[in-house]
Amino acid sequence: MSIEVRGLNKKFGDFVALDDVNVSIPTGQLTALLGPSGGGKSTLLRIIAGLEKGDSGTVNIEGVDATNLPAQKRNVGFVFQHYAVFKHMTVAKNVAFGLEIRKRPKDEIEHRVDELLKLVHLSQFSHRLPSQLSGGQRQRMALARALAVEPSVLLLDEPFGALDAKVRKELRDWLRRLHDDVHVTTVFVTHDQEEALEVADEIVVVNEGRVEQVGTPDQLYDEPANDFVMSFLGEVTHLGGVSLRPHDIELDTQPRLAGGVEGTVSRMVRIGFEVRLTVLTVDGDEVSVVVTRTHARSFGLEEGSTVWLTPADGATLIPRMAVAG
């Protein structure tokens, strides 16, 4: 294990940011800390980096007890949501900063900076100032700067949070490919479940200062430990005492399948290829159902139609909790 966090607690005044957190982050993998805003995931990352101190508990990085080490001695790379560029330095100088502090020979620094700028596709911008770069380019520069010191772990705090949707998606794919090339243990914080599911090898779901579940994207999606994880990773609806995904509900206009629940379509919204239905069942439930447009058309669905709903075969079902997410 590359990072071991044990019994970590952190309070800001009365607010409990982390409540007895235990996490192990595997070496060489891309791990996502996923959770809603204010859930403690950024605090956890900052404590690992040494930018914040836990009230109690230990942090171990690559077998070294780092609990009381200051940030500059931990050899972690950190990437900030708002880039944290050194405004008065050129792109090349930004990337060289960590190496210059380590007093590496000049030609070695130059060589390494060239190499890194090539890696993040910024070679032609090396003499520009950060203010002359776009947001996505600045974040790639920040990444090169963090990688320059060959950190034992790379930590990214909502790295794409300040970028627009299209650039965010590009950078996300690019980060995945970069990680496949560089293989440094990487942890990134995100509140975007799609981002985590798409990029990460492993996901740690953090909510209200606690770790809810740890697993691969498939495990989390298919076998959520609780209602919270299930609802956070995707849409959830409730049908006859179980929670399940709206697209895992089979719909028919005839009571053909056993155990079908009868209901009336009360609302119908078409978004691109899918159709979202709200069905009021005879049990008094309000169920969301997603079907394809073709499917909806073949049944001739419209508001007011009577339908029968059943959970699809192989659907993820978990018993509904008292307070549904």
């Binding site: 040494g50 500059q72 950190f78 944290a84 050194f86 320059a148 010191v149």
Partner: protein, 247 residues
């Protein structure tokens, strides 16, 4: 541009024209006059010295105001501006009663050169502080944390990251502080005694020239002051650009 011309350029040009009108002879005689020269020297060196002190103390005070939390901070915040708000002659009175012949502190610098230094220091205090403060407030903590995570200690972070961001503000504050020092009159006129060759500054010298109906002479001294101030402001600007570019 018209606004700027009316307010600044035309009066300045008028001074230079008046100085030239008097003829080169008067101009040269006035500024090479021993008493004038000594006044110019005193003014410029004292203003330069005071500016140096402000360059060091200003950012320090600004740092304390922005980053530290302590009891009475908001009071201090207001106090910084008092030299701005106080009519300079009142400042002069305060200084005279504190550091004059009947000083309650036992420090008597009346009619001595430190009086000029002290008066300059008093009136120029806010300039660097107030220029640096907003820049320091805007400075991202992220950037300092990024430097730390890359292995920089506090001193390196300050020298390589924070200071370059503050340099333009410090330079601008220093230019203002110098210019204010050179032009200061009210706050020192009481305490310094205006002794020729000793504590007489240029602004006092200009006034006495005018009182003696020597307008050309006054304009000549003013032109020299103008040239010096302009040079200092340009030099500070150049230094600032150099430092900012070096990183």
């Amino acid at each position: 541009m018209i606004w700027f011309s009316a307010l600044v350029l035309i009066p300045l040009a008028a001074i230079v024209v008046t100085a030239i009108d008097g003829g080169w002879g008067i101009f040269w005689n006035t500024i090479t006059n021993g008493q004038t020269l000594s006044a110019i020297k005193l003014t410029v060196f004292t203003a330069a010295g005071v500016t140096l002190v402000n360059i060091i103390m200003g950012p320090l005070i600004a740092w304390v105001l922005v980053r530290d939390r302590f009891w009475g901070k908001s009071v201090l915040e207001v106090m910084i501006d008092i030299p701005f708000a106080l009519p300079t002659i009142v400042a002069g009175l305060v200084l005279l009663s504190l550091y004059g012949t009947d000083s309650p502190l036992g420090i008597d610098i009346a009619n001595k050169r430190p009086a000029v230094f002290l008066a300059f220091l008093f009136v120029t205090l806010p300039f660097v502080v107030r220029m640096v403060q907003p820049v320091l407030e805007e400075l991202d903590r992220d950037v300092e944390e990024a430097a730390a995570s890359l292995g920089a200690n506090r001193i390196t972070t300050f020298r390589r990251i924070i200071l370059p961001s503050l340099t333009p503000a410090i330079a601008a504050g220093a230019a203002l502080s110098f210019a204010r020092g050179v032009s200061e009159y009210g706050s020192l006129v009481l305490l310094s005694g205006n002794l020729p060759f000793k504590t007489e500054v240029t602004s006092v010298r200009i006034l006495s020239s005018i009182e003696n109906d020597n307008v050309a002479g006054a304009a000549a001294v003013a032109t020299v002051l103008l040239a010096i101030s302009l040079t200092v402001i340009v030099v500070l600007d150049l230094i600032q650009r150099r430092v900012a570019a070096r990183g």
